[in-house]
C-alpha cells in the first residue's frame, strides 16, 4: 500500500499538478499524483476534496463544470495567478527546508 500525504503537502502537489497540466478534474488530479509517485502515494479522497475546496476558497485555484475526454460531466480546476505565486514561494520554502534537513542528516553521518 502507498503512503498517505499530509494535507499541506497535498495542496502543493495539487497546485503543481494544475500548473503543469492546466485544467484538470479531481479524479484526474488524484490519478496524476499517484502515477507520478509510481503508485507510491495514495491520495485520500477525504483529504483531496476538502483541500480543493480550501484552495478555491483562498483564491489559489478556480473551478468550472465541463466535459471530460470520455464525455463525462466533471468539475475542472485551474490554477490562478495567486496560486502560481503561492506555489513559487512554497517551492522556495520547501527547497530551503529540505536542504537544511538534508545537511543536518549529512552532519550526523560524518560523526
Amino acid at each position: 500500500m502507498g503512503k498517505e500525504i499530509w494535507q499541506g503537502t497535498l495542496a502543493l502537489m495539487v497546485l503543481q499538478t494544475l500548473k503543469v497540466m492546466g485544467s484538470l478534474h479531481g479524479y484526474g488530479i488524484a490519478r496524476r499524483i499517484e502515477q507520478i509517485s509510481n503508485e507510491q502515494l495514495l491520495v485520500q479522497y477525504g483529504t483531496l476534496y476538502p483541500t480543493l475546496i480550501k484552495l478555491e476558497q483562498e483564491g489559489l485555484i478556480h473551478s468550472e463544470w465541463g466535459v471530460s475526454d470520455n464525455n463525462r460531466r466533471a468539475k475542472f480546476y485551474t490554477i490562478t495567478e495567486a496560486g502560481i505565486r503561492k506555489l513559487q514561494k512554497s517551492m522556495k520554502d520547501w527547497e530551503l527546508t529540505t536542504e537544511v534537513v538534508a545537511s543536518f542528516f549529512r552532519l550526523k553521518e560524518k560523526e
Binding site: 479531481g26 490519478r31 479522497y45 477525504g46 475546496i53 480550501k54 476558497q57 483562498e58 468539475k75
Partner: protein, 877 residues
C-alpha cells in the same frame, strides 16, 4: 492573510447556499466514481466488478462529504446550531423547569443589570466635556495650627488663582467659580434662583459653546466694568419664553441693570462640585456681592496640559504657592495644595456603596445559578442513558459538554431577556423613590456597556449552571452504558452539600450587610436631633446689597421680621438665625479666647447668630442659666454655649458668668443649651456658641416658625408679612423641619432599601435551594428508607437522621459565612450609624434566622420519610 479573509468570506457566503453546494458535491463525487469505473472497465473489468472496485477505492462517501462540508462552512457553528435546536426541543418538554429558571434569572440578572447600569453611568461614563479626563479640581488643605484637623478648603480670594494662572506651566487652563442665589422678578412676585459666578475662562475650559451670543470677556471680568449676565437655557425659556431678542438687552436684577451677552445651550449641565443642576444666571466672578463678598468660596478647576501628570501639576502649584506674596486675605494661614481628578472628586465617594451593591447582586446571581445547577444535576440521573448512547455512537466528551452548555444557554436566555425588563423596572422604581440619592441617575440609559454586561451575565450563568453537571456526567457515565444508578452516590451527596453551604454563606453575607444598613437607618431615624422633629417651617430671605448695604440694616430687618412672624396667628414662636440646622451646613468660625479654661490659645469655634426665642422655636431645652433675650440683643454682651463647650472648657465647673473674649470684646456666658445635631444628623455636636444675631448680622437670614398645625400652610402668611416690610424680597428654601430631617435620612433609607431587596431575594433563593436539594435527596433515598423501615426502623429515627444530615451543610455555610460577613461589615463601617460593624447581635440573629429557614426547608420534604410505605417500596423493587 488575504487568503484567510477570502476564505472566511466565502464560508460565510456558503451559509446561505447549502442545498446548491451539497448537490454540487454529490455530482462531483458521482463523476469521480464514473471516471474511476471507466478506467477499470478499460482494464477489462465487468461493469459490476468495476463499480464494486471503484466504490471500494473511493471509500464511503459520507465521511468525504462531511470533511468537505466542514471545509465549506464552520463546523463549530453548525454543531452549535444543531445543539441549539436540540435544546429548544429539550426544554419545550420541561416547561415548569423553564419557568422556574426564567423567574429566578430574570430577578437575579435584572438586579445585576440595574446595578451595573448605575455603575456604568456614574463611574464608567466620563464627564461629557471634551478631554474631561484631564479636568481637575484644585483645593487648599488648611493646615493652620488653630484648626483641630486638617480640612479641605476653597479659595477666599481670586488673587491666588490669578497668580496660579499666570505662573503655572502644567495646566492648559484654570478657572474659578462660585455658587450663588439671586432674587429675580422685581414685580409683584419675586423668587430666588440658583446662579453661578465664574471667571471668563470657565466655559472655554469646559469646552462649551454658547447657544447664542458669547461668554464673558476678560475685560468684563474686571471690577467696575459693564455689568453682564449669561442666561441659563431653562431660565431663558421660562422667564423670557425663549425670545432670542433678549440678547444684548438689559435686564434688571436686584435693582441693577445687566446686559445679556449670551445664552447657555440646552444640554449644558455643570459637572463641577458645588454647582446645582438648574443654574438660571451666570455672572462674572467680580459680581460677588452681599454676604458672599465677605467670605467668598471660590472653587478652582483646571485642565492638565496634554502629557502632564496630576502629581506634576500638584508639585508645581505647591511650589508656586510657596512663593506667593500677594493678597493672603481669607486664605488659610498655612496651607498645602491638592489636585484631584474631577470625575473622581464628583463620583469617587459612591464607589464603595456601588461595589457593595454589585457584590450583593452578583452573590444573588450565584445563589440562583446554584439552584438551577442542582436542578440540572437532579435531571442527570434520568439522562444518563441518552448521553451514554450518544457517547457509544461516537460523540466526543467535549461535544457532549458543548451540548449541555448549550442547553443551559438556552435555559438562561428567556430569563436574561426578561431581566432587561426587570432592570428597567428596578431603575424606574429607584428613580421614583429616591430621585436624589445617586448622581447622574437621570442620565441612566441602555448603553453598549450594559449590553456586554448582560452577555457576560448570560455566559456566566450558563457556565455556572452547566459546566459542573456536564463535567460530572461525562466523567461518570460515558464509558459505561449499562452502569445506570438510581440511588445517590457518595460524591453526589458531597457536592450537593458543598453547594448548599456556599449558598448559605453567601446569603448570610447579604443578610448581615442588609441588617447592618437597615439598623443604621432605623437608628438614625430614631436619633434625637436635640430639637423638635415637626411643626417648624423653615425658609430663607436674602437682603440685596443695594437696599440693605450695612450690617445694621440687616440686624434691623431681622428684628422686624422676627417680631412680625411671631405675631402671625397660630404661631407659637419665631426665630432668626444665620445658619439653619441641617440645611445650611456651615457655622461661623469665630476666634475666641476662653480665659478661665485650660486652653490659653485662641480657639476657633462654630458660632451661630440667633434671635431671641431660637430655643423655644426649636424646642431646645436649657441645661442651666437662661437664653438670649431682647436686652442681650441690644447690649450684645451675652452668649449662650452648648454642653460640649461647657464640658470642654470648664469641665465640672459651671460656665455661667464666665467671660469669653471675641477679639477685644468680652462677653458673658448666660446659659447652657442642649447639644444638637447641626450639619449632619449623624454627626455629634462640637463646642458651639450662640450669639445675638445683631452681633454678627448677615444679609442671608434663615427664619424658623413653630406652630401647632401644619407648618407648610403658614407659607402665604409669611410671604404676606415679608411683603409688608419689603415687596422686592423673596422667600427661598421653603421647607419644614420634618422634611429637612427626612432629607437627611434619605440616603440611608436608599441603601437600606436596596440591601433589603437583595436580602429578601437571597433568602428566598437559598430557602428554595435547600428545600429542593433535600426533597430530591429524600426521593432518591426512598428505597433505602423503605427497606430500613421494613427491617424495623422507626420513622422518627429516619426523620432525625435526615434532619441532622440535612442541617450539616447550612451549618457549615453559616460557619464559613461569618468571617466573610464580618469582613463585609468592616467594609461597610463608614455607612453605619449607631451600630458596630461587628455587632454580635446582628450576626447571631442573622445566623439563627438563616438556620431556621434552612430547618424549615429541610423539615417540609423530610416529613415524606415518615409517610413511606415499606410494602410499596419493596414491591417497586
Amino acid at each position: 492573510m488575504i487568503a484567510r479573509i477570502r476564505s472566511l468570506l466565502v464560508r460565510l457566503g456558503n451559509l446561505f447556499r447549502r442545498t446548491a453546494q451539497n448537490q454540487d458535491l454529490n455530482e462531483e463525487l458521482q463523476s469521480h466514481l464514473d471516471m474511476q469505473m471507466d478506467e477499470f472497465m478499460q482494464q477489462g473489468m465487468s461493469q459490476q466488478e468495476a463499480y464494486r472496485k471503484a466504490r471500494l477505492k473511493l471509500g464511503h462517501p459520507a465521511p468525504i462529504k462531511e470533511a468537505c462540508r466542514d471545509q465549506q462552512r464552520f463546523p463549530l457553528f453548525d454543531s452549535l446550531l444543531q445543539d441549539f435546536r436540540f435544546s429548544l426541543r429539550f426544554w419545550k418538554q420541561r416547561p415548569l423547569l423553564v419557568l422556574a429558571a426564567t423567574v429566578t434569572l430574570a430577578l437575579a440578572i435584572g438586579m445585576n443589570v440595574a446595578i451595573f447600569s448605575t455603575i456604568d453611568s456614574i463611574l464608567l461614563t466620563s464627564i461629557p466635556y471634551p478631554d474631561s479626563e484631564r479636568l481637575v479640581l484644585i483645593s487648599l488643605l488648611d493646615e493652620s495650627p488653630r484648626n483641630e484637623s486638617v480640612t479641605r478648603s476653597r479659595l477666599g480670594n481670586t488673587e491666588l488663582l490669578e497668580f496660579w494662572q499666570q505662573e503655572n506651566k502644567t495646566m492648559s487652563g484654570m478657572a474659578g467659580y462660585s455658587a450663588w442665589m439671586t432674587t429675580v422678578g422685581s414685580g409683584g412676585d419675586p423668587e430666588r434662583i440658583y446662579t453661578a459666578l465664574t471667571t471668563p475662562d470657565f466655559f472655554p475650559l469646559l469646552g462649551i459653546q454658547p447657544l447664542m451670543g458669547r461668554f464673558f470677556s476678560p475685560e468684563e471680568s474686571r471690577p467696575g466694568s459693564n455689568q453682564v449676565v449669561i442666561l441659563g437655557h431653562h431660565y431663558w425659556q421660562g422667564r423670557f419664553g425663549g425670545d432670542p431678542d433678549i440678547l444684548h438687552q438689559k435686564i434688571t436684577l436686584e435693582g441693577k441693570p445687566y446686559q445679556v451677552v449670551g445664552i447657555m445651550p440646552a444640554d449644558f449641565k455643570p459637572y463641577v462640585p458645588g454647582l446645582g443642576r438648574n443654574i438660571g444666571l451666570f455672572f462674572p466672578i467680580t459680581e460677588i456681592s452681599g454676604s458672599l463678598a465677605k467670605s467668598p468660596i471660590i472653587n478652582v478647576i483646571g485642565k492638565l496640559r496634554e502629557g502632564t501628570s496630576l502629581p506634576q501639576a500638584q508639585d508645581e502649584l505647591r511650589a508656586l504657592s510657596g512663593n506667593y506674596t500677594g493678597n493672603r486675605e481669607r486664605l488659610p494661614e498655612k496651607f498645602d495644595v491638592r489636585v484631584f481628578p474631577l470625575h473622581e472628586e464628583l463620583y469617587g465617594s459612591y464607589r464603595p456603596l456601588l461595589m457593595i451593591f454589585l457584590g450583593c447582586s452578583s452573590c444573588i446571581l450565584l445563589i440562583g445559578c446554584i439552584n438551577l445547577m442542582n436542578v440540572i444535576l437532579a435531571q442527570l440521573t434520568g439522562r444518563t442513558k441518552e448521553l451514554a448512547m450518544r457517547a457509544a455512537l461516537g460523540a466526543k466528551r467535549i461535544r457532549l459538554i458543548q451540548q449541555m452548555l448549550m442547553e443551559c444557554f438556552v435555559l438562561v436566555l428567556p430569563g436574561a431577556l426578561l431581566g432587561i425588563l426587570v432592570a428597567a423596572g428596578l431603575v424606574h422604581l429607584m428613580v421614583t423613590l429616591y430621585p436624589l440619592q445617586l448622581p447622574r441617575i437621570d442620565e441612566l440609559k441602555w448603553s453598549g456597556n450594559n449590553f456586554w454586561f448582560l452577555i457576560g451575565c448570560v455566559l456566566f450563568s450558563s457556565i455556572m449552571i452547566g459546566l459542573f453537571p456536564a463535567w460530572k456526567l461525562t466523567r461518570d457515565h460515558v464509558a459505561d452504558v449499562h452502569h445506570i444508578s438510581q440511588s445517590p452516590t457518595r460524591s453526589q451527596n458531597r457536592t450537593g452539600a458543598f453547594f448548599l453551604a456556599v449558598q448559605t454563606a453567601l446569603a448570610l453575607v447579604i443578610l448581615s450587610s442588609a441588617t447592618l444598613l437597615i439598623r443604621s437607618f432605623q437608628e438614625l431615624r430614631m436619633t434625637d436631633p436635640g430639637y423638635r422633629k415637626e411643626g417648624i417651617l423653615t425658609s430663607q430671605v436674602s437682603l440685596p446689597e443695594k437696599s440693605y448695604p450695612t450690617p445694621e440694616s440687616h440686624a434691623m430687618f431681622a428684628d422686624q421680621i422676627q417680631k412680625r412672624l411671631a405675631s402671625i396667628p397660630g404661631v407659637h414662636s419665631a426665630a432668626i438665625t444665620n445658619s439653619m440646622p441641617l440645611v445650611f451646613n456651615l457655622l461661623l468660625s469665630v476666634d475666641v479666647q476662653v480665659p478661665d479654661s485650660p486652653y490659653k490659645e485662641k480657639q476657633r469655634i462654630g458660632t451661630r447668630a440667633v434671635s431671641k426665642d431660637f430655643n423655644h422655636t426649636f424646642g431646645m431645652p436649657l441645661i442651666s442659666g437662661r437664653f438670649l433675650n431682647e436686652q442681650d440683643e441690644k447690649s450684645l454682651e451675652s452668649v449662650v454655649v452648648n454642653q460640649q463647650f461647657a464640658r470642654k472648657y470648664f469641665g465640672d465647673t459651671s460656665p455661667l458668668g464666665k467671660q469669653l473674649l471675641f477679639g477685644e470684646k468680652s462677653k458673658t456666658i448666660v446659659g447652657v443649651l442642649r447639644d444638637i445635631r447641626n450639619m449632619k444628623l449623624q454627626w455629634e455636636a462640637k463646642p458651639e456658641i450662640y450669639i445675638p444675631f445683631a452681633a454678627y448680622p448677615s444679609s442671608m437670614i434663615d427664619i424658623a416658625i413653630y406652630t401647632d398645625g401644619n407648618p407648610a400652610s403658614l407659607t402665604p402668611a409669611v410671604r404676606a408679612e415679608l411683603r409688608q416690610i419689603d415687596s422686592s424680597l423673596a422667600l427661598s428654601q421653603i421647607s419644614t423641619i420634618d422634611r429637612n430631617l427626612n432629607d437627611q435620612v434619605m440616603q440611608w433609607s436608599f441603601r437600606a432599601w436596596i440591601l433589603g431587596l437583595f436580602a429578601m431575594l437571597a433568602i428566598a433563593l437559598a430557602a428554595i435551594g435547600i428545600y429542593g436539594v433535600t426533597a430530591y435527596m429524600v426521593r432518591l433515598r426512598n428505597k433505602e428508607f423503605g427497606i430500613r423501615m421494613a427491617l424495623g426502623a422507626q420513622p422518627k429515627t429516619l426523620l432525625n437522621q435526615v434532619l441532622r444530615y440535612g442541617m450539616l451543610a447550612p451549618m457549615a455555610g453559616v460557619i464559613a459565612g461569618i468571617p466573610l460577613a464580618l469582613f463585609t461589615g468592616k467594609w461597610l463601617e463608614s455607612m453605619l450609624y449607631g451600630i458596630e460593624p461587628f455587632d454580635p447581635v446582628t450576626y447571631t440573629s442573622v445566623s439563627v434566622i438563616l438556620l431556621a429557614i434552612a430547618l424549615l426547608g429541610i423539615l417540609i420534604p423530610s416529613f415524606r420519610v415518615t409517610r413511606i410505605n415499606p410494602a410499596e417500596t419493596l414491591r417497586a423493587e
